[in-house]
Amino acid sequence: MKVSLVRPLIVLLLMLGAAALSVLAVPTRLLADSRPGFDLESSIPKAFGDWKVDPFMIPIPPSPDQESAMSKIYDQILSRTYVNSKGERIMLSITYGSKQNQQMRAHRQEVCYSAQGFRISQLQRLPLTVAGATVPSARMVATQGQRIEPVTYWFTMGDDAVMSYLDRELTQLRYALAGKIPDGYLVRVSSLSSNPTEAFEQQLRFVDALMMSVDPELRRRFVGSSA
């Protein structure tokens, strides 16, 4: 009747070690608390270049359950429609979340759009040059009935724009090892157009001009530090 006690004891010590390590290494400090924040509503200019906010276009609010999910993930949500002198419109949506850890991260927009009944096509990921920085972004065309909406978007985490799942995971781990939970922005521009190629070009020019017109520190957070 002898089951060795040595091995269970080693296993126990290993388990206690893992438990201790995971308590000590879990980040609790928010990166957002260590530096000044921005109020999106006042930091994003209502007019820049040829663009100004279209006062007659009020963005359609999301459905109630969408809204409750959004307010859990994002601390600030900015939705505006801009119009230029030619009467062309571009919709801008910027969200900010102070806690970009697993369950609270910004959502992939192709998932959000398809949840609202849009069909997603031509989804592609590509690096865009915005305000002199290389930003890993995504483009897609969302279609619902007669409505054809080319969309460009990207995410940031801490000081970097991150697109792939692995990128986000590694960036989060990098901050975790420094004991911090990163914050993040989602920048999305879209327009109604049946010519996606043209619309994407215009969205890029729009967002480039917009980024050039915001506070340099906020710009750095929007486009990442690769500039």
Binding site: V3, L5, L12, A18, A19, L21, S22, Q103
Partner: protein, 297 residues
């Protein structure tokens, strides 16, 4: 070391000394997973979608308890594992630590599987792991699915369920139309929510099905695999019925009826229908397999 090798039979005398290693492992396990269970109870297990977690864990404990004599006998008869056991154990520890630091619940909870396998193998040997294999495997159903997987599966399921419910009700002559996952019937509009996609009821039913098979103990592997696969379309079908019930109740008795008690009751109907289907299909499968076995015998 090998004094007990001859008496692999069930020994009813489990004295304190033989329980000590088990108590040590149980203590370590609860220190690690207590906080995980607490967190899950506050978050994922508190939702409609994955609320079945604690029940699964209860079943795991019960299944292990049923095997207590066999486990004890295996522990006495077996040899502690070599390097392979340690590798599995370390894998479990690593998964756990990464999951905790990165706040990935799938890893935090999922780590329990390699960890249990590893610690049992290292302490008592692979024989014990083999006896405990099904209960440990069953923990899989208590592991929260990764968000990316849920998102990827939920959308098409929701679309398909909405599409099928619309098609059937339209054929029955109801004034119903659909945009994406929004159903309009009469003056009412229903949004097919994530929970209605049936992804989680699919997993719960799969878990129940496997449990049923394990308890019934069919000898034919093929029969078990077939039944396990057939549970997927069965739960999909049951889910269409649930959505149809909700649409019909809303149409005939109003919005409040559709959102109130009936909403919960429709979930029960879902499980009732799916379980009934499972028993029927298992019965049909049994008919075939008995015939085949009869011929070969």
């Amino acid at each position: 070391m090998n004094t007990m090798a001859g008496s692999g039979a069930v020994s009813p005398t489990r004295n304190l000394h033989s329980m000590l290693p088990l108590a040590m492992l149980a203590f370590g396990f609860s220190v690690m997973f207590g906080p995980v269970f607490y967190k899950l109870a506050q978050t994922v297990w508190n939702t409609d979608e994955q609320g079945h977690g604690p029940i699964i864990l209860g079943v795991v404990v019960w299944l292990l308890w049923l095997r207590r004599d066999a486990l004890h006998a295996a522990a006495l008869a077996g040899q502690p594992a070599g390097i392979s056991g340690w590798v599995v154990l370390l894998l479990g520890l690593l998964t756990y630590v990464v999951g905790r630091i990165q706040n990935i619940v799938t890893f935090e909870m999922g780590a329990a599987i390699p960890l249990l396998v590893g610690m049992l193998a290292v302490s008592f040997g692979w024989r014990v792991v083999r006896v405990a294999a099904f209960p440990i495997f069953f923990i899989l159903f208590a592991v929260p699915l990764p968000g990316a997987v849920v998102d990827a599966l939920t959308q098409p399921l929701k679309q398909a369920v909405s599409w099928a419910a619309e098609g059937i009700l339209y054929a029955m002559g109801y004034p119903i139309s659909r945009t994406g996952v929004i159903l309009r019937v009469g003056q009412y509009q229903l949004l097919v929510a994530d929970a209605c996609a049936g992804l989680n009821s699919m997993f719960t039913l799969e878990a129940l099905g496997l449990l049923y098979m394990n308890i019934v103990g069919h000898t034919s592997k093929l029969r078990n695999v077939l039944l396990a696969i057939l549970i997927i379309p069965m739960s999909f079908f049951a889910n269409i019925i649930r959505v149809m019930i909700l649409v019909l109740v809303t149409y005939h008795f109003g919005d409040e009826a559709g959102q109130g008690v009936v909403h919960g009751a429709a979930g029960m109907v879902l499980f009732g229908v799916a379980l009934l289907l499972m028993f029927i299909i298992d019965g049909i499968l049994g008919f075939f397999f008995r015939n085949r076995e009869g011929k070969t015998a």
